[in-house]
C-alpha cells in the first residue's frame, strides 16, 4: 500500500514514517500542502481525477502550510477520489472536524494515534491484538 503523509513537523513526520514503513507501507512524505499537491501531479482544479492513482491512502495534518485546512482536504480528495483519506491533527476542534469530513475526509482523528490505529484507519489491515 502506498501512502502520502502530509505533516509539517519534521520530527513527527519521520516518527510516523518509521512506524508505518515497519508495517510494510510505502510512505511518501510532504511537509506542506503545496508539496503534497505537487507530488500528486498536475490535475486541473475543478476536474476530478480519472480514478487512476498511485496512492492508496493519505494521512494529512490540515495544519500544514498552504494550502491547509478543509481546502487542502478538498483538493486532495479531488485528486485521489478513491483513496482512503484520514485527517490526523493536534487541533481538538469540532468545527474543523465537521469541515474536513464535509470536504471529503473518511475519518478525523486527534493526535496522537498509534501506528496500528493509523493502519486500521486507512484500511491497511487489522489492528494488533
Amino acid at each position: 500500500m502506498r501512502l502520502l503523509l502530509v505533516e509539517d513537523d519534521e520530527t513527527l513526520r519521520e516518527a510516523y514514517r518509521l512506524v508505518l514503513e515497519a508495517r510494510d507501507l510505502e510512505v511518501v512524505a510532504a511537509a506542506t500542502g503545496e508539496e503534497a499537491l505537487s507530488i500528486l501531479g498536475a490535475v486541473a482544479d475543478g476536474a476530478v481525477a480519472d480514478g487512476g492513482t498511485d496512492f492508496d491512502a493519505v494521512v494529512v495534518d490540515p495544519g500544514v502550510p498552504d494550502p491547509s485546512g478543509a481546502e487542502l482536504v478538498r483538493r486532495l480528495r479531488r485528486r485521489l477520489p478513491g483513496a482512503a483519506l484520514v485527517v490526523l491533527t493536534g487541533r481538538d476542534d469540532g468545527a474543523l472536524r465537521e469541515e474536513c469530513l464535509a470536504a471529503g475526509a473518511d475519518a478525523f482523528h486527534v493526535k496522537p494515534l498509534p501506528a496500528a490505529r493509523i493502519a486500521e484507519a486507512i484500511g491497511a489491515g487489522p489492528p494488533d491484538g
Binding site: 513537523d9 520530527t11 513527527l12 516518527a15 510516523y16 518509521l18 512506524v19 515497519a22 495544519g63 491533527t89 493536534g90 487541533r91 481538538d92 476542534d93 469540532g94 474543523l96 472536524r97 465537521e98 469530513l101 473518511d106 475519518a107 478525523f108 486527534v110 493526535k111 496522537p112 494515534l113 498509534p114 501506528a115 496500528a116 490505529r117 486500521e120 489492528p127 494488533d128
Partner: protein, 274 residues
C-alpha cells in the same frame, strides 16, 4: 423590563446590547481558536515522543533488554499522563461552567469504545491488562457531544488502567435504562477499589485518588470533575460502586437518539459523526 421600541433611548440601549453580544461572540471565538492552537502545540511534540517510544517498544529499531524495555514503558506511561493532562486542562478551560455549550451529534457507542481502546492499547499491553467490551447490539445511537463524551470515557478507562495491577481486566459495558431513552455506560476494573471515604470526593475538582498501584501517579485532579460536569450537562448521572480490593464500577448515563426531550432541545440540523 419593558422597552419602548419607539424611544431613542431604548434603541440606543438595544444597539449597545447587540454590540456587547457581538463582542462576546468574538471573544468566545478567539478563546476557542486559542485553545485549539494550544492543543496542537502541546500534542505535536507529545505525539512524536509517543510514536518513537512505540517504535522502540515494538523493537523496530532493534531488540531491547529488560532494563531498556522498562525505560520505554516509563516513557509511554508518562507520555500518556501528559496527554491526559492536556485533555483535562483544555476541557476545563473550555467548559466555562454553566456557559459551556453542548454540540450533540449521533454516534454509536461501540465505535467510541473502539477508539478509546485504541488510544490506550500500548498501556494495556504494557500492564498485561485485558480489555473487554460487551456486545451492545441493541443499544440505539447516542445523541451527545462526542468530543466531550470521548474525554469522559477516556478518563475513566485511563483511571481503570492506572488503578489495576498487571494481569487484571478493564471492561466497558452498556445497557439501556428508562426504556430506551438513556444508556448507562460502565467502566469496570479488577483494581484496588475506591475507599468509602473517597467515593463522594473523587468527583470534586482538584481531588486525586489517594490509593493506587503506582504511587508516582500524578494528575491534575480535574478528570473526574470534568467527567461529572459533562455528564450533568447532558442531564445524566455519574457515580461509582466499589469495594477496596475488589475493583470498581464507574458508571454514567447519556441520552440516546430516542430521548425526544433532549433531542428536541438540542437538535438544530441533523449532524452525524463519523
Amino acid at each position: 423590563m419593558v422597552v419602548d421600541q419607539n424611544s431613542p433611548d431604548s434603541q440606543e440601549y438595544v444597539d449597545s446590547l447587540e454590540r456587547e453580544l457581538r463582542d462576546l461572540r468574538n471573544l468566545e471565538t478567539a478563546r476557542s481558536q486559542f485553545l485549539a492552537a494550544v492543543s496542537h502545540e502541546l500534542r505535536t511534540p507529545l505525539s512524536a515522543i509517543q510514536t518513537y517510544a512505540e517504535a522502540l517498544s515494538d523493537e523496530i529499531l532493534g531488540r531491547l533488554d529488560e532494563d531498556q524495555r522498562d525505560a520505554v514503558c516509563s516513557i509511554l506511561r508518562a507520555t500518556r499522563q501528559s496527554l491526559d493532562m492536556v485533555d483535562e486542562i483544555l476541557a476545563f478551560a473550555r467548559s466555562g461552567g454553566d456557559s459551556a455549550e453542548l454540540d450533540p451529534v449521533e454516534f454509536t457507542l461501540p465505535e467510541l469504545v473502539d477508539e478509546v481502546r485504541g488510544t490506550h492499547e500500548s498501556l494495556l499491553a504494557r500492564k498485561s491488562l485485558t480489555f473487554e467490551s460487551g456486545p451492545m447490539p441493541a443499544i440505539p445511537a447516542l445523541f451527545a457531544d462526542r468530543g466531550k463524551v470521548s474525554l469522559v470515557l477516556g478518563n475513566l478507562v485511563s483511571n481503570a488502567i492506572d488503578f489495576t495491577p498487571p494481569g487484571g481486566r478493564v471492561e466497558v459495558a452498556a445497557r439501556l435504562v428508562e426504556e430506551d431513552r438513556w444508556t448507562r455506560i460502565e467502566v469496570i476494573d479488577t483494581g484496588v477499589g475506591v475507599p468509602a471515604s473517597e467515593r463522594d470526593r473523587i468527583f470534586d475538582e482538584f481531588v486525586s485518588r489517594d490509593s493506587g498501584v503506582d504511587r508516582e501517579l500524578g494528575g491534575t485532579g480535574l478528570g473526574l470533575s470534568i467527567a461529572r460536569r459533562v455528564v450533568h450537562m447532558h442531564g445524566g448521572e455519574i457515580g461509582v460502586e466499589s469495594e477496596v480490593g475488589e475493583g470498581s464500577r464507574f458508571y454514567f448515563t447519556l441520552p440516546t437518539v430516542r430521548n425526544e426531550r433532549f433531542v428536541e432541545r438540542h437538535r438544530e440540523t441533523p449532524a452525524v459523526a463519523q
